[in-house]
């Protein structure tokens, strides 16, 4: 009993140590966990599979290095699917510190899939003022993106010939770490009826269920688990799938601590009641 009472007053640093071990060890020993795909993620995948060859897909990088473990694996899996289906990704960036991450992911997968810059994909880079941009792209994308991320005129790229506004974009995929997605849904989706799919951090994903349920987004990929599901769908398990073991065990350890803490709580409560009764 004393053990449980001592446990309820445990120094938080022991909890941190346990969490650290439980996250690091699975990354070293790599146990395998089967990943079952959920409906919101499947919906994103299926929607993209049905897009006609040559369709343009606008990818918005709205995350930075902090959310890299959750978003970067999804970005890579998404790009693999797009290039495989001969769809054309157009990358734009709303979070300036996400620009190198988006570029890195795009160039890595483009090289892997043999895609040609300007013909099969393009990177338009970052521009400030995301709300103005979202409204402006509804009319003409060149009002905000006259040049690509290397300052080359958009009109010199074959794939941008017929891309002027949302009408020329089959799907917008937002990779979101904050609340920029609300503006995409309000402006691009609400005003211009653009089809949207979202990939959010695990902590924000529950908030976006509103939009998924009401049909305002075609699907939702939540956190690293969602990214792992997408990697399974494109048949290329990578970092997200590898992280599932750490995530599973850390959840288990937190639950264990909660249960032990409650046991200690009830024991202490019982002891106090007994003393009170005396």
């Amino acid at each position: 009993m004393n053990f449980f009472i001592k446990l309820s007053k445990i120094d938080r640093r022991f909890i941190y140590l346990f969490i650290a071990l439980v996250v690091v060890l699975p990354l070293i020993f790599k146990p395998k966990f089967p990943v079952v795909v959920s409906k919101p993620v499947q919906d994103v995948y299926d929607y993209i599979e049905k897009l006609p060859e040559g369709s343009n897909v606008l990818i918005s990088i709205d995350y930075d290095a902090a959310s890299m473990p959750e978003q970067q694996p999804f970005l890579e899996a998404l790009l693999r699917q797009l290039f495989k289906n001969k769809l054309k990704p157009i990358l734009i960036v709303q979070w300036q510190l996400g620009a190198p991450l988006g570029t890195m992911g795009l160039e890595k997968i483009a090289k892997e899939m043999g895609a040609v810059y300007g013909v099969d994909y393009i990177n338009l880079g970052y521009r400030p003022g995301y709300v103005a941009q979202m409204v402006g792209i509804g009319k003409e994308i060149r009002d905000y993106f006259k040049v690509d991320y290397k300052n080359i005129l958009l009109d010199s790229f074959p794939m941008m010939k017929n891309v002027h506004n949302y009408n020329d974009i089959a799907l917008l995929v937002g990779l979101e770490a904050g609340s920029t997605y609300l503006a995409w849904i309000e402006y691009a989706g609400g005003r211009f009826k653009q089809k949207i799919a979202l990939a959010l951090n695990a902590v924000s994903a529950p908030d976006a269920y509103y939009f998924y349920q009401s049909g305002q987004i075609v699907g939702l990929v939540g956190g690293m688990k969602g990214a792992a599901e997408y990697e399974v769908l494109v048949d290329k398990p990578d970092l997200a799938v590898a992280g599932m073991a750490s995530q599973s065990y850390s959840h288990l350890v937190i639950i264990l601590f909660i249960v032990l803490g409650n046991i200690a709580y009830f024991i202490e409560k019982g002891m106090k009641n007994k003393e009170g009764g005396k």
Binding site: G54, S55, R142, K161
Partner: protein, 429 residues
């Protein structure tokens, strides 16, 4: 006989030259690949002008074909709207933009023609069609250099115009009128002296206790406005609470630290705190450097504020504003130094973290009502009462919709389906 043969040969040569208007071009007038081979156009509704929408609906088997759209104005000038669009895209918009402001002029008649082809359109063929001498008013099949191009008939005249009212926003106008009416009614009621009730909000009642406790321990107060901008409503709500807290701090003659994420918020906070100290009669205690800018990076801000918390060890920490992933980092650090914490945010994803780590949490609209609660001015109480009535109205709508949907889709009763669809359409923007 010889004469007849010679005449036939001449006739054949003439016929060939009539059919082929140019070298390598064969034209078959009025031939179409399928029935209803046409494109249609209309003015883009509810816009500021300068925009025409072209649509087409071709059989699915042609989805991988290309469509080129041409435009002709009243003066007969031809231009290209777009080349090699995928037929599956089904529409294209011809709009003026900042780059090309006189592309489509309001009030001018435009005529559009589509060119369907299996391969990307040949530039020479295109130049030939749009040149004034040749024109392309003839619809039919063109065979140019062994490639086949199907040209639609010209559309009727289409005129672009700017709308004075966005009709799709009528439900918003109706809501606006209703909301304005409710607000004005309650503001008048408040002016007339009627007492309006606002329930207890524990987090706000604890402000005095928190400031008092900090003063007793000889520790400063830390007020964190989160990572919003001054245009965000939660930040404005946070600033109004800051005003009240600062006044209390001035009365207790203690120190307040306000680390800011945004420079504009920092400047506004400096003015708010200065004003509060002046109102409390202690402008001498105000120190501009206590309200400082940290960084506009989310986790850089969290690191900076955490460091400040560990060094300054405030007795009370207020977290009032817009918070995202850094919320738990800030709240846990505040808890670890033993500070009393009063938090409030509208981000529903962060509320559970605040509830777990803080002593008091203002949930969503409680934060918005904070300035009303702290001042208890009649006009402001009127606005809270108006919000409550609007909430009742929304609840009634939800219940009505729920009942209609049960009868419409649960029991499959036709009239309820119509009513439900009408309700959904009425509420759509």
């Amino acid at each position: 006989m010889l004469k007849r043969t010679l005449l036939l040969i001449v006739f054949l040569i003439l016929s060939i030259s009539l059919f082929s208007e140019n070298d390598g071009l064969i034209f078959l007038e009025n031939q179409t690949p399928f029935e209803e081979f046409a494109i249609t156009g209309k003015d883009i509704p509810n816009d500021g002008g300068g925009g025409i929408e072209i649509e087409w609906s071709f059989p699915d088997s042609l989805d991988n074909f290309f469509l080129t759209v041409l435009r002709k104005d009243e003066a007969g000038n031809n231009s290209i709207v777009a080349t090699d669009l995928l037929v599956s895209s089904k529409q294209v918009r011809d709009v003026s933009s900042e780059e090309d402001p006189s592309r489509v002029k309001d009030g001018t008649k435009y005529y559009y023609t589509g060119i369907l082809s299996k391969k990307m359109v040949d530039e020479n063929f295109l130049n030939m069609l749009i040149s004034k001498e040749n024109g392309y008013s003839k619809n039919g099949i063109y065979i140019f250099n062994n490639d086949t191009f199907y040209v639609t008939a010209e559309t009727d005249a289409i005129i672009s115009k700017a709308s004075w009212f966005n009709l799709s926003r009528i439900p918003v106008v109706i809501s606006l009128i209703l909301i304005s009416f409710v607000f004005l009614y309650y503001l008048n009621l408040a002016k007339s002296g009627k007492e309006l009730y606002i329930r207890k909000i524990n987090g706000l009642d604890a402000v005095e206790e928190a400031v008092g406790r900090s003063t007793e321990m000889g520790k400063p107060i830390m007020y964190i406005l989160g990572i919003g901008y001054v245009t965000d409503i939660p930040t404005i709500a946070g600033l109004t609470i800051l005003s009240r807290v600062s006044k209390k701090v001035a009365e207790y003659e203690t120190k307040i630290l306000v680390p800011s994420y945004d420079p504009v918020v920092m400047t506004t906070a400096q003015e708010v705190v200065k004003e509060a100290f002046t109102e409390a009669g202690r402008p001498d205690l105000y120190n501009k450097n206590d309200i400082m800018y940290i960084t506009q990076d989310q986790f850089g801000y969290a690191a900076g504020v955490d460091g400040m918390m560990m060094r300054e060890k405030p007795g009370a920490v207020f977290l009032q504003g817009l918070f995202f992933a850094e919320s738990l980092i800030l709240a846990e650090t505040g808890h670890s130094i033993g500070a009393i914490q009063i938090s409030g945010t509208t981000e529903t994803a962060q509320l559970p973290f605040f509830v777990a780590a803080c002593d008091y949490t203002l949930i969503g609209e409680e934060m918005m009502a904070a300035s009303v609660y702290l001042q208890k001015e009649p006009m402001m109480l009127g606005s809270i009462a108006a919000e409550d009535l609007l909430k009742v109205f929304i609840m009634v709508l939800i219940i009505v919709g729920f009942i209609l949907s049960i009868f419409a889709y649960g029991f499959n009763i036709g009239i309820f389906k119509n009513l439900f669809d009408l309700l959904v359409r009425a509420l759509q923007v």
